[in-house]
């Protein structure tokens, strides 16, 4: 138990996020994703194209990134149940995702893939909603593949979409609210992903450059999200400890070759 977040964190555990490393998208959800089509705008015909292709962690390459970030909520906003807060965070998610620390270059704009996805994301069951993470360079699409109101979490999985080709990681990321050991709650983010998707393995190899994508873009985006979530909960009147990325709960987990893939 980590004393700063009152939650379970073991940075040396190579299997800390093994549930996410081995996560399999429910076949029904996969069928729903596979069935989505849209007009092929490049074909000048009525041809339809598949909208999405799941990019699983097994499709990626290189070291697995495991992370778990938490903010400690000492008391909920007045009049809020834990689920209401969880739901408010999801409904305001596009305002909380601002990107990394390098002005403009790592800025992120989150929006639904289509109007259909907008309706799905804002419903009581967001499974199947596709969301776009826009950056100046490109746009990466994820799909909500899991949602559990009782356990208060949702999971995004990376996909290659027809409209956008931009993902440089492949894997899943979980967002949730859970009770902590001191009677309060933790809003957390957990992930298991690795480089993959559109990156050319032969051209990039494992030169060390790939770490930049995690440290300057992805990792900072999630840490900044925790800070935005902290401000958001405070604005509602909740009592939240300051998110400090130097603490254990702000560190990525160590990777071990024995990474629990098998």
């Amino acid at each position: 138990m980590d004393i700063d977040c009152e939650c379970r964190i073991d940075l040396d555990d190579p299997c800390a996020n093994s549930d996410l490393i081995n996560y399999e998208v429910d076949p029904l959800v996969k069928n729903m994703i596979d069935a989505r089509q849209q007009p092929n705008t490049m074909a000048y015909s009525s041809a339809m194209s598949k909208s999405f292709k799941l990019e699983t962690i097994k499709d990626g390459w290189g070291d697995i990134n495991q992370d778990r970030y938490s903010i400690k909520i000492n008391s909920l906003p007045p009049g809020y149940t834990s689920f209401q807060l969880f739901n408010d965070i999801r409904m305001n998610f596009s305002n909380l995702v601002v990107g990394g620390d390098i002005a403009y270059v790592t800025d992120v704009n989150l929006e639904p893939y289509s109007s259909q996805d907008d309706i799905m994301w804002n419903s009581n069951n967001p499974i199947g909603a596709a969301m776009d993470f826009d950056t100046i360079f490109d746009t990466s699409t994820v799909i909500c593949v899991d949602y559990n109101a009782e356990k208060m979490y949702w999971i995004f999985a990376t996909v290659t979409s027809y409209d956008h080709q931009g993902h440089f990681v492949a894997g899943v990321r979980q967002f949730g609210l859970e009770a902590n050991a001191s009677g309060g709650y933790s809003f957390y983010i957990r992930a298991a992903d690795r480089l993959g998707g559109v990156l050319d393995y032969v051209a990039n190899g494992l030169s060390g450059d790939e770490e930049v994508l995690f440290t300057q873009a992805a990792d900072k985006t999630w840490k900044n999200l925790m800070e935005e979530a902290e401000s958001f909960i405070q604005s509602l009147g909740g009592d939240v400890d300051e998110f400090d990325e130097t603490k254990t709960y702000g560190n990525r987990h160590n990777y071990n070759e024995d990474d629990c893939l098998n």
Binding site: M42, N109, D134, F137, Q165, V198, L199
Partner: protein, 159 residues
Amino acid sequence: MKLIYIITVIIFTSQLLNTYDHTIYVDLKQSSFKETQQLEEIFYQKLEIKTNLPKMLNIFLDRKAEVRQDVPLNIWQNIKLSIDYDFFKTQVISIIPNYYTEIEMQELLVHYHEKPHLPITKIEFRKELSIIVQNFIDNEFYDTANSILSSNGYMPLDN
């Protein structure tokens, strides 16, 4: 005399042929250069950065407009329309050959011909793009925005 005539004809013809060969060579070289340029331009047109850079900067200006309500909306619109993205395009096109050979470009264009965009597949290319983006924003973007704001009597943006 006849020998001298033959030699002169040979030399003259040879010079003509050389000139002709050279002309063909130069034409081919220029044609190839143009084709490569066109290929890089087509490659650029398929990169999502072409649409995402203006999109993200316009979102930035929309957010500024919400905070800076002293500035009329038509001024923000004027800024959006005045930013010269051709400068950015030229810079990107000039570095593409440093990262992609003609064959690689052609392969990617063929592979993604039925998709609206092709991805940035190389981390080093992405890193240099980020430097170009930063320079573009620090100079062209801010200069244009602040010049328009100042000439209309408004405070410039903080950079």
